[in-house]
Amino acid sequence: MGKYLAMIRMRFLMMLAYRTDYYTGILIYSINIGAYYFLWNAIYGEKSSIEGLSSMQMTTYVAVAWMARAFYFNNIDREIATEIKDGKVAIEMIRPYNYLGMKTMQGLGEGIFRFFFFSIPGMLLVALIFPIELPKEPATWSIFGVSLLFSFIINTQINLLTGITTFFLYNNAGLIRAKRVIIDLFSGLLLPISFYPMWAQEVMKYLPFQGISYVPSMIFTNGYSSGEIGMALLQQFIWVVILIIPIQLLWIVAKKQLIIQGG
């Protein structure tokens, strides 16, 4: 366990070493939240609610969706791809730890760093500027926390899967970009799932993506009834378990396939 904590600490140090990334990140997220706030304002106009969400809930949804993204989002797929492409993965394989486990920890380190130094201050700032409604019951906060953790795990698992495909494809920059768009779109970050046409909602029920952003954001905005919360958490959990299988299978094959590029 010590080594995994050490790796999280290492990632903290790395985040601190890249200060510019940190500041530009804050800027980009503020712009996004601002832009979506004004966009939704225009869409709502005089209407008090659309698809069961009030305009206040919508603003909260946008703010929390982006702040949650700061926590669950990471680039470990791209990191794995680079490590494979320039052969650095060799160094990872001579260490007595599980490569994917360590990558997950690095993602978690990044997530925790941004959660405390980015999401929380960011959320406070957003709450001052925009009219948003924070949940009043402590239970909602803790359920949101659990759900956010699941969303981190699901997103990381999908990233690991995308990353591992580099072992077979060698150059999967396109796939990584496609994955990113798909997640932003189907996870409910840009548009709540309830705004999609019915048939699309049906399809998305069978995909893991809404567990990434839609579920925690809906919990935070009180958009779910208590029964729905239970179902949503269960669905997230099931996806966490299911996604382990393809990762492990691909990893076993990938290790055999491994070619260290560049001598």
Binding site: M10, L13, M14, G87, I91, I94, Y97, L258, G263
Partner: protein
């Protein structure tokens, strides 16, 4: 268990895609590709005893790095058996890597943007080294490699020589009984090379550490290794003492001549001898070199014949250096 490394009939094949030529070929490659199976390591056998320092040499692409990667558990062999420290490196990777240290001269294992000591600290945790063990062992390593003042600098600010010394220290944090060094002195200046060699010798004596090193720098081998394993096209072509290599190949002597007047290669070649002498002209130093076997009075015959025909400015007799021996072997591909 007295063998650190045991390798039996080890083989690694790579599938390499060959591209068809031309635009039409490129389109056909889209659908089906031609694959060729290329053996990078071809049924090799060897054992390394504990405490031995072995040089593993060969041309670029001979299969050295591939072997090292199989021995360290990175790659899975196509066929054959490996036992390193009594374990199968690929199958028991996580347990196994605890017992080895690896330095890849061409890749850094330190974190680029962070101070060296942070990398050390992480590795200390990764290898589960206690504070006491760390202090005992690393204090000495850091002092000997003279990296104390570098520890709080980010890796990207270090020079290659400084970084390499840190890499070596990083590979030794858990004081492994077996050390793999893949071109550890590549691109380093003479002083750093000497320091690293001295250090390796010292830990070998102190901890009986087994060292397997690949290198293109034959100075490393002469300074460190008594045993040499030479690889060519995936096969072992020589496994034995360094001295043996010298004895087999160094029977040839070189005699260097510089002349006062212009002399052509033909004139020299036309000198009659009862034995074969090969003449070579080295343009850079304007020297004519005669290569001949050291037998009987051949040298004196050759020298007297040359001296009596031409006016000489300078004459030197060279023994073949290790470098030349190795070059000759690489060119011919057999020992």
């Amino acid at each position: 268990m007295s063998d650190a490394i045991q390798v039996k009939q080890l083989r690694k094949e790579f599938k390499s895609a060959s591209s068809r030529s031309g635009l039409k070929g490129a389109f056909r490659d889209l659908l089906t590709r031609n694959y060729k199976i290329v053996p990078a390591v071809n049924d090799i056998n060897f054992t390394v005893k504990k405490g031995e320092m072995v040089a593993y040499i060969g041309e670029n692409g001979a299969g050295k790095s591939t072997t090292i990667k199989m021995l360290t558990g990175i790659l899975e062999p196509t066929a054959g058996e490996i036992a390193v420290n009594g374990m199968n490196p690929h199958r028991e990777r996580e347990k196994f890597t605890q017992t080895i240290g690896v330095v890849f001269g061409q890749r850094s294992q330190l974190w680029w943007d962070i101070a060296v000591q942070e990398s050390f600290r992480l590795l200390k945790k990764v290898y589960k080294v206690t504070d006491e063990q760390y202090d005992n062992h690393m204090e000495h390593v850091i002092k000997t490699l003279d990296i104390g003042p570098l520890l709080d600098k980010p890796v990207r600010k270090l020079s290659l020589g400084q970084r390499m010394r840190c890499e070596l220290a990083a590979a030794l944090i858990h004081n492994p009984p077996l050390l793999f060094l893949d071109e550890p002195t590549i691109g380093l200046d003479v002083l750093v090379k000497l320091k690293i060699r001295e250090f390796l010798k010292e830990i070998n004596e102190k901890y009986n550490t087994t060292i397997l090193l690949t290198t293109h720098d034959l100075g490393d081998i002469e300074a460190l290794c008594e045993r040499v394993i030479m690889l060519d096209e995936g096969r072992i072509i020589y496994d034995g003492e360094l001295q043996g290599l010298k004895d087999n190949w160094a029977e040839e002597k070189q005699i260097h001549f510089q002349f006062i007047e212009a002399v052509s290669l033909q004139q020299l070649q036309s000198l009659p001898f009862p034995f074969t002498a090969n003449w070579v002209y080295d343009e850079k130093s304007q020297t004519y070199i005669a290569l001949l076997k050291e037998e009987g009075d051949h040298i004196s015959q050759l020298v007297s014949a040359v001296v009596s025909h031409f006016k000489i400015k300078d004459i030197k007799i060279h023994e073949t250096s290790i470098e030349e021996i190795v070059r000759n072997i690489y060119e011919e591909g057999t020992v």
